[in-house]
């Protein structure tokens, strides 16, 4: 890195020539065009809409989530960053889908799009559908939840007297006790309400309605815990809130008990201390586990975990992965697991999606991706991993860089770095080719039989 060296100087000059800066005029033009587009999308986000407007159907009812043709862009003054550029995949119920891909390829933006947490006004979902099966509380005409009642053997609702504040049965004007149906209680002693399943297109939902889904229906473990923990509130404060919001009828005492229980579950020693601590007083891995506890506290049906174990040692990582699997078993949740740790993917995932530069380039079952990676990028990824056994002087890494997301080429995005390039690769962007009932790849090497 010393610039004294002649040769390096040349290299530096070469990089200097390559770059192109925009003139002030160009930037203003881009900004104007962006502003118009952003205003339109923001308006749609903030509109009021009846649920029927975004209720839809799943293509396959075994899925819990279907993402189709998702495009999420950032409108910056340098141009439009197409961070997610046409992504299609499904998450079947009660399964784990792993996502791998190069740093910056759009994994987090995909998951933030599903949560509808893209930072506006510059970050927007521009196109695509995100169909999500919601199991929400059923409401009566007045908008109240409908309790589930205990029934006797004959199927009749068991009745019990209504009590007043002092625990004395209330009576009507004839002196008869007033009766009501006995509500079923769950293992925490909290009343159960009737639920119903509907499918929403999240991409079209007004942002306000999303609040109902986050936490209980879907929850996210963020890649950088400090971005989502509030530095001025204690961990306990922030954890309690999840229970208070998502468990109907939860009291403060219940919330605290549950928070401590959750901290225990994620392997935190002395949960009482951590409960009373502020985020900056915790280690990186403790913050990450607090985030996980927060995401799991609502017992969501879909957990999106963005690099959930990067700050954890392998023993605690194993414990956390078990915890995810427990929840999956207990309430049939599904997991979208983003990680660069191929070992974690191998252990956890049923299906694997490989992303590159905002698109999916290969997907299949975990075993297909590991034993028979087909896309040259996936193959390169497999080769780069230092293993406990390897001892080469230099690690293999895929040479070159991704193209600039502002000016994507119209041929294969991996072409400049690919060692198996063929003539066809300079042509159109390769389409998805099915190579087995579950294995798909987007690469011209496998295109012959199709189209």
């Amino acid at each position: 890195m010393s610039v004294n060296n002649e040769k390096e100087k040349e290299a530096v000059n070469a990089t200097k020539e390559k770059k192109h800066y925009l003139s002030g005029k160009e930037i203003r033009e881009i900004a104007r065009a962006n502003a118009k587009e952003m205003r339109r999308l923001e308006k749609a986000k903030n509109r009021k809409a009846h649920p029927s407007e975004y209720t839809t159907e799943l293509k396959d009812n075994n899925n819990i989530l279907e993402v189709e043709g998702l495009h999420s862009y950032f409108f910056t003054d340098q141009g439009v960053v197409k961070a997610v550029n046409g992504v299609t995949f499904n998450i079947p119920a009660n399964s784990t889908v792993g996502v791998v891909g190069e740093s910056g390829c759009g994994k987090s933006v995909t998951s933030m799009s599903i949560m509808r947490l893209l930072q506006g006004p510059s970050g927007q979902i521009v196109e695509g559908e995100i169909r999500f099966k919601v199991s929400d509380f059923k409401r009566d005409e007045k908008g109240n939840f409908i309790p589930v009642y205990e029934k006797d053997e004959d199927g009749n609702v068991i009745m019990e007297p209504v009590l007043d504040k002092n625990g004395v049965p209330k009576t009507d004007k004839d002196g008869q006790p007033i009766l009501k149906g006995k509500q079923r209680l769950d293992e925490h002693g909290i009343g159960v309400f009737e639920q119903e399943e509907t499918v929403y297109d999240i991409a079209k939902m007004p942002i306000k309605d999303m609040y109902r889904l986050r936490g209980r229906q879907m929850a996210m473990v963020f890649q950088e815990p400090m971005t989502s923990l509030n530095p001025v509130f204690t961990i306990g404060n922030q954890l309690d809130e999840v229970s208070l919001l998502h468990v109907p009828g939860a009291t403060k005492e219940f919330a605290k008990k549950r928070s401590i229980e959750m901290l225990n579950l994620v392997g935190i020693a002395m949960p009482e201390r951590v409960y009373a601590s502020y985020p900056h007083e915790l280690s990186g891995g403790m913050r990450q586990r607090v985030m996980i506890a927060m995401a799991l506290a609502g017992e969501p049906r879909l957990i999106i975990a963005d690099e959930p174990t990067t700050a954890l040692d392998v023993t605690i990582q194993a414990q956390i992965l078990d915890l995810f699997n427990d929840l999956k078993r207990k309430i049939n949740s599904s997991i979208l697991l983003i990680t660069h740790d191929l070992g974690v993917i191998a252990e956890m995932a049923d299906y694997v999606v490989v992303m590159y530069a905002g698109r999916i380039i290969e997907q299949g079952t975990a075993s297909e991706i590991f034993h028979n990676p087909m896309h040259p990028y996936t193959q390169g990824l497999q080769k780069s991993k230092p293993t406990m056994k390897s001892s080469e002087a230099k690690l293999f890494n895929i040479p070159g860089n991704v193209p600039n997301p502002i000016n994507m080429p119209n041929y294969c995005y991996f072409k400049e770095r690919c060692s198996q390039c063929i003539g066809k690769c300079s042509g159109e962007y390769p389409g998805m080719v099915q190579v087995s009932p579950t294995h798909y790849v987007a690469c011209h090497l496998y295109g012959e039989k199709e189209d």
């Binding site: 890195m1 891909g101 740093s103 020693a269 040692d313 194993a318 191998a346 252990e347 590991f370």
Partner: protein
Amino acid sequence: MENQEKELNVAETQEENAFAGYDDIAEKEREEQARAAQIEADKQLPPDPEAILEVRHLKKHFVLKKTLMGKPLSTLKAVDDVSFKIKPGETLGIVGESGCGKTTMGRAILKLHQPTAGQIFFEGQDIAGYTPKQMRALRTKMQIVFQDPYSSLPPRSTVGDILAEPVRVHNIVPPEKVKEYVLDIMEQCGLRDYYYERYPHEFSGGQRQRICIARALAVAPKFVVCDEPVSALDVSIQAQIINLLKKIQQERQLTYLFISHDLSVVKYISDKIGVMYLGSMVEFGPKDKIFDNPLHPYTNALFSAVPNPNPDEKVERILLKGDIPSPANPPMGCKFHTRCPKAMEVCKHITPEYREMEAGHFVACHCYSEEYSGKKGE
């Protein structure tokens, strides 16, 4: 009420101990005196001239509760008596459970936390007592890549400014060359030139991590604490960064303290390895010795938990059972005894000595002391 419970517990354990033939209170006193004497004796020694960094009996305690007068009521011993040396051009890998004090140790060495006690010799100077002003002169020589990239980058500066500012201030290259120099480092870290004008929030997690690495390397340091520097990177870029770190190390005799949970990465990059548990170093030695012949039961358990990147093979793991103790209230004797599969009676009462088993390979465990390893049956 809490206090009462604690007292009860103490009484109970005391009874048990009397039964087992140990007097914990006397033992504790004896240990403390011996340790204080050791620290005093080591203070007199001159720093090792061959080491670029020598840490002796480093402690960092956080005060959790204070009395009204400001006296500490309960403290958390995040780093409790750690000693080691690193030679120039070497990489010391630090591994250990989440929350065991790795980050705190790294920060204390750079004086980003004022150490509670101990000596830190950097290039022969004890910097433990340096004032912030004195430290500023050392800042270009000692750098850190923070574990949490997002909160360590100023949100309102562009990447170009973040990287160029320290280069300019410390006159690393002539002013007219600064931009070229910064673009070159960015390129080496896999950051594209068009990122120069962008703000930190406009990046992905892995891109931010690389900005932090570029910032640390830009001022041509001698010693860098890398706290989980590649945890957010995919394996290919991870390989690129590790190759870069190694290349620069060879060119400039750079020394790294490399903290990571990824054991394959640690194994690849390190010359020496230190294993920490609950604020203490439990095993330390040359990489090959640690990986081929791990001695401490904790090291063994740690290595067995590495996930296997083959979905069809399920591996056998040593699962650690028992309560994970808190650094605010560490167990007596060996701190690992609550979870150790090999724990003996003596482990509950007497702190194992940190001793050299073979050249440069240290371990703190009673299994390797002739005096105690025979007592197992008791």
